[in-house]
Amino acid sequence: MQTEMNLGSDDRQTVLVCCGTGCTANGGREVFNAFETSLQDHPEIQVLPVVKATGCNGWCEKGPLVRLLPRDITYCSVAPADVDEIINKTLLDGVLVKRLLYRDPVSKEHLTSHHLTDFYRKQHKIALRNIGEIDPGQIDDYVQRGGYQALQKALLGMKGQEVIDTIKASGLRGRGGGGFPTGQKWQACRNASGNTKYIICNGDEGDPGAFMDRSIMEGDPHTVIEGMILGAYAVGASHGYIYVRDEYDLAVQYLRKAVDDARQRGYLGNNILNTGFVFDIDLIRGGGAFVCGEETALIASIEGRVGEPHDKYIFPTEKGLWGKPTVINNVETWANVPVIVLHGPASFAAIGTANSKGTKVFSLVGKVVNTGLVEVPMGTTLREIIYEIGGGVLKKRSFKAVQTGGPSGGCIPAELLDLPIDFDSLTEAGSMMGSGGLIVMDDRTCMVEVARYYVNFLAGESCGKCTPCREGIRALLEILTRISEGQGSIGDLDLLEDISFTMQQASLCALGRTAPNPVLSTLRYFREEYLEHIEQHRCPAGVCRALSIFYIDPEVCNGCGVCARHCAVNAIQGEKKQAHVIDESICIHCGECYRQCAFDAIKLR
């Protein structure tokens, strides 16, 4: 591998293999190794292809992805065994390997590049601009795409206050969940008295079902670092911390290298760009606690204490880490900063809605055809994201809801699909932006179970310091469990609302105040489903085990045997090509057969 390579800008061919977490699990690293090995056997190749491992392309569904530049060819689901064919046909002879191209499900056409697919065409990349295009381990790749130019522009030609004014004018709001105006936060820290100030990057991405920040840290670590240096210059901080979730091994690895490389190049250290500006960054691995995404808890964790939040009568911008003024922004927020500073605030502010500017990265997952990372302008509707980019609901089932905002968010029903999403519209709908998870749910997802799932998650994550959150979550969980087991009563629904209200009013931090959202939003939009559980002892999605009794319709069953093969307890019997039968005395109601049957022959009583 060579480091001084121009990506696609000279006549040599480049092979990019996605080695993000998603593609690595599908064997991306093996494909990368196969290219390296096989290319050594081809000294006759005149133009030496450069193999680069890139970060997550976001199109995890089709991984491992291999891209060939400068011709912009994308191959999907590549196996190590395909590598020789790619080298012989495409690299040497310039012929496409058709079976590895993406096939548009509607037009049935083979598309040569991922840029031509609906999944990519409808996106607008700012925070993700470099991901999948560069090798995250090579600082030169970042520099070649305009990296560290914003830093030069700011340090050599702008005052700290001008940087803050730029961010204010761009309308950038924090991408971590709350949507607090970033410029205002920086201003408060700059105005705070004292010479020692800190910058923190919150990379403790804890929302289940969300991986935007992981992909940015893995795929473009330098943009986070450059954003932080700009922030430090703006507020007058000399030290920064990146707090990374413990589970994210690859992100830690790339960030560590990126910080070292940046230091070596003089972008970090005691005399940045020979201007005398001093700033350095330490990496901290989180201990694995969801509540540490809350900024006061995160600060406690860095200080070597248990991650319990405290009240915010005084904001961290005045008294934060070790009692000093501190700016905390999340990964995606930092990734936007270099772009805004370099190109000016106007082009950023031109994108989005009245009060939410720029783009937002979403992790589109769940029961949707194309899963992966999606970056769209604020104000894009849920329908555009789920149907045009996401390709609709998996297996053509009907759409029931989309969950946004993680455990602090809520479920949005089909009638609100045309809602243009920004910070404010989602809050009005009873959910929130959160960090950007979008989890698509179909008619086989039980909304009571979803609410119970989130509350159960929060029950394990509540730090236990304040009573409304600690006891409230436990009570909610008890009631929801009761309902999902068919033991609920009508009065339970009022009780859920009462407890939720108290938690919203009286909890100490945002975790407790927003914890009832999954319950309240499902009650608001899916009350019928709760009632069906309580009154008819039936789970219409076939998920709650105590309330789901399955049988096979002999008229529909063609005896393919798929259900029997998937049954964990061998409860399904039947001759081949004859209708099968479920033995009620053995069945554990897991619903696996119900989900596997391609002919809808398994019914819910």
């Binding site: 977490t21 991986f211 201990g287 860095i302």
Partner: protein, 164 residues
């Protein structure tokens, strides 16, 4: 809980790991993480040594150890199976994977098999949602797994095919 005799044999190794950091409370989390990574759990003796080194009561170190999920107070199995129960995996029925694991290994999340070979855990999200449901064994990620995949994978690691 008693301090295992084996822990005394490791005392000098604990000591050199701990002393690679300055004795300040701000390094507490990092020291504990290194210890966890090295030994797969926090030995009781090591906890008392860490507390002395950073100048905090043992209770403070114990509070950290029990608060953060990264830490374990008992030794884990040789293979740690982590089943993702993030939202995307959950609605794609990660529960089925746990059922299969329990059937094969008689271990629920949080437990270690009697032979010390496997520990079973759930994690809130591995950030590999596009591959849901996901399972990780000692860092190796298995995506889009179903019940029969789990059976096969566990067999590869030396687990029984079906203990029943």
């Amino acid at each position: 809980m008693q301090i295992d005799a084996k822990e005394y044999e490791n005392a000098s190794a604990y000591k050199s790991l701990i002393e690679s950091y300055a004795g300040k409370p701000e390094y507490l989390l990092a020291i504990m993480q290194d210890m966890q990574r090295q030994y797969n759990y926090l030995p009781r003796l090591a906890i008392t040594m860490i507390a002395a080194h950073v100048g905090l009561p043992v209770s403070r170190v114990y509070a950290m150890a029990s608060f953060y999920k990264a830490f374990s107070l008992t030794p884990k199995g040789r293979f740690v199976i982590r089943v993702c129960d993030g939202t995307a995996c959950h609605i794609k029925n990660s529960e089925t994977l746990l059922d299969q694991i329990e059937k094969q290994l008689q271990a629920r999340p949080g437990e270690t098999t009697a032979d010390g070979l496997f520990s079973v855990e759930t994690v809130n999200c591995l950030g590999a949602c596009a591959l849901a449901p996901v399972m990780v064994i000692n860092g190796r990620v298995y995506g889009k797994v179903n019940r029969s995949d789990v059976e096969r994978i566990i067999k590869e690691y030396g687990g029984q095919s079906d203990a029943n």
